[in-house]
Amino acid sequence: MATEAKPEDDKPITVSLQDNSFEPYEIEAPSLELKTTKNELRAMYRDMAAVRRMEMAADKLYKERKIRGFCHLSTGQEAVAVGMEKAITPDDQIITAYRCHGFAYMRGASVKSIIAELLGRREGIAYGKGGSMHMFTKSFFGGNGIVGAQVPVGAGIGFAMKYLGRPNTTFALYGDGAANQGQVFEAFNMAKLWGIPIVFGCENNKYGMGTAANKSSALTEYHKRGQYIPGLKVNGMDVLAVKQACAWAKEYTVSGKGPLVMEFVTYRYGGHSMSDPGTTYRTREEVSYMRSNQDAIQGLRNKLMDWNILTEEEVKDIEKEVKEAVDAEVAAAEAAPTPDNTNRILFEDIYTRGSEPDWMRGRTVEETFYYKE
């Protein structure tokens, strides 16, 4: 197949980033020369296409009323999850909020396990109990539903890395809306005070639910909000800039210099969640302008074709492969069985297994569940 990785394409190459990729605060910005390989660039393209295809599948299943409840899609923001993963190792840690499908996928979760989770299936990544907002996999601590609550948790994870002497960083991600939560500033202070290797990453998609950033935030330059913590604003619609910035941030934090605050300037094409059409607080023109001029996937495709790394035919092959692979996994998720309709499934994992109380009450006396037979 045309898109198979060729060994000669693992040779290091250097590409130039756009001049406006970074805006530093109290620190020197990373280099605009990105070291990468042709195969990595192709993989970035493939991964972003896969995340978008998966989110579109979730969108469709939601509209078909197969996925119920809350569902926040990252369509438009793919470059952040993909670029970040390419800059770190599986032993680095990530924790984020509820717009988490792309991160779960990049951290190693299968499309099937993610879509099955959305559908409430037992084979879902959290047994169908977490749903859209709660997805966990190795070195990925979710998927958290409370705005801002994951940020101090990230500080604890980062401290664990430091305490255990691991050469790993932690990315604690939040949105521009969550940036105004008090606990975010509590976490900043603890991290700086204790020199925790952590990157506080604000994904600024311009709107906290339905409120524009400048109507909620006194300072919309979120990378400066650490005040006493150096910061970096990154073009979050450019996966290459994201990769370069995250690699730089990992090196900085792991070298013992303490935390960083980063802002990824990005954009979500859809509403805040599926119940928000996303058109009442911004114009359709704005959304379509971003889609046609700033799109991360299209942007990388154009670059790779300009640089003769991908031909038009190869692009089509990758897109076809991604479509087939994602669609097959989505179909498998849809075919996966719903959880057994038993109290054992309902009441498991409230406490660690073996330490549960003797019983938990159900809807009626007859449904009282006894952990021990």
Binding site: V153, M161, Y163, E186, T352
Partner: protein, 407 residues
């Protein structure tokens, strides 16, 4: 402002329960002694001061301490004990936990200095600043941080201190929405089971609105948490060690008036006591009285008076773990006695007493001879001068025993 409040509380935690040793005694000297304690008048028949040094709910000798059947047999046969008050027993448990689990860390406001109640004295010297450290004054951040540390791998143990239970509310979100639900929403593998949150609770005589609350019922409403309240030093050491080692998040509430007042012979070695298991402190046949923490000693006096004045045999149960609580022990006792009252300092509305009473009527309805009684704090804030009226006193417990017997 809060700092000041803390230090003034610290200085007033009773070392010995005599008025003369109180730092404020000279200032108060112009007040006639008979007016000083509204509910402990000098000629009171029932509302006597609790005498912790003679309470049968505490082990005053090595032999009674080691006779505890819940202790491991090695300690029962050859263990040493030392005389510790409750804060020293907490210190012993923390020290044991830190020395037996190198991943355990201890943090909170001022804990490196020993904490306002001295529970973590000398631990910084012994275990170093990487493991015992002060945090900023940010309860939400403290608990979030603790959840993150505990969640990193199943072995990580985070012991967080909230300086007073009254300060826990900024952290309510992290406890209820993050800690308690972590395992359930994370398909078991992701959890913060190694997290233990310690906090001083209950009245101290003069703590007023923000240093004397009993917030246990807020947490006893949340599946995924365990809530533990010890009554004395032996219990505090054994239950705290079990709570720290328990792979579920535990809220450990320490009755602050007992820090110095309750003194016991505590086994020196490492031991744990079981969670979710109540303890029958006194066998009786006529009525069951259920309580936990400080009010148990009030119950002891009321039970003694009921025996002497009414000839009533009272069975006293220390719930110890207030969520999930030991239904088996409670139901067995109530089925035997047919009467029951519940005593706690927290306000009545939505309190644990209501929940326990409801469960008793569901499971023991045909055995009941009288409605389940409740002696609780009133549904009012803990006003400084009214604290003694708000917490259950001996008269109120005695009166409810009498009414329940006469029903």
């Amino acid at each position: 402002m809060r700092r000041k409040a803390v230090s003034s509380i610290l200085s007033q935690v009773p070392r010995v329960q005599t008025a003369s040793s109180r730092p404020l005694a000279p200032i108060l000297a112009i007040t006639p002694a008979s007016r000083r304690y509204s509910s402990h008048p000098p000629n009171a028949k029932l509302n006597q001061q609790v005498q912790f040094n003679t309470s049968t709910y505490l082990s005053h000798t090595t032999s009674t301490s080691l006779a505890n059947p819940e202790l491991p047999s090695s300690i029962r046969t050859s263990g040493n004990t030392s005389k510790l008050n409750l804060y020293q027993a907490i210190n012993s448990a923390l020290s044991t936990a830190l020395s037996t689990d190198e991943r355990a860390i201890l943090f909170g406001e001022d804990v490196a200095f020993g904490g306002v109640f001295r529970c973590s004295s000398n631990l910084l010297d012994r275990f170093g600043p990487d493991r015992v450290f002060n945090t900023p004054l940010n309860e939400l951040g403290i608990i979030g941080f603790g959840i993150g540390y505990a969640s990193h791998s199943h072995a990580n143990t985070a012991i967080a201190e909230i300086q007073f239970g009254d300060y826990v509310f900024p952290a309510f979100d992290q406890i209820v929405n993050e800690a308690a639900k972590y395992r359930y929403r994370g398909a078991s593998e992701f959890n913060c089971g190694g997290l233990t949150i310690r906090m001083p609770v209950m009245g101290v005589g003069h703590g007023a609105l923000y240093h004397s609350q009993s917030p246990e019922a807020f947490f006893a409403h949340v599946p995924g948490l365990k809530v533990v309240v010890p009554r004395g030093p032996v219990q505090a050491k054994g239950l705290l060690l079990q709570s720290i080692r328990e792979r579920n998040p535990v809220i450990f509430m320490e009755p602050k008036i007992l820090y110095r007042a309750a003194v016991e012979e505590v086994p020196v070695d490492d031991f744990t006591l079981p969670l979710e298991k109540a303890e029958v402190l006194a066998k009786g046949s006529d009525i069951t009285v259920i309580s936990y923490g400080t009010p148990l000693y009030t119950v002891e006096l009321a039970a003694k008076a009921a025996k002497e004045m009414l000839g009533v045999s009272v069975e006293v149960i220390d719930l110890r773990t207030v969520y999930p609580w030991d239904k088996e022990t409670v139901f067995e006792s109530v089925k035997k006695t047919g009467r029951c009252i519940i005593v706690h300092e927290a306000p009545r509305g939505g309190g644990l007493g209501g929940e326990i009473a409801a469960c008793i009527q569901e499971s023991c309805f045909l055995n009941l001879e009288a409605p389940v009684g409740r002696v609780t704090g009133w549904d009012v804030h803990m006003g400084l001068i009214f604290e003694q009226f708000n917490v259950p006193d001996v008269v109120r417990v005695f009166d409810t025993i009498k009414k329940t017997m006469d029903y």
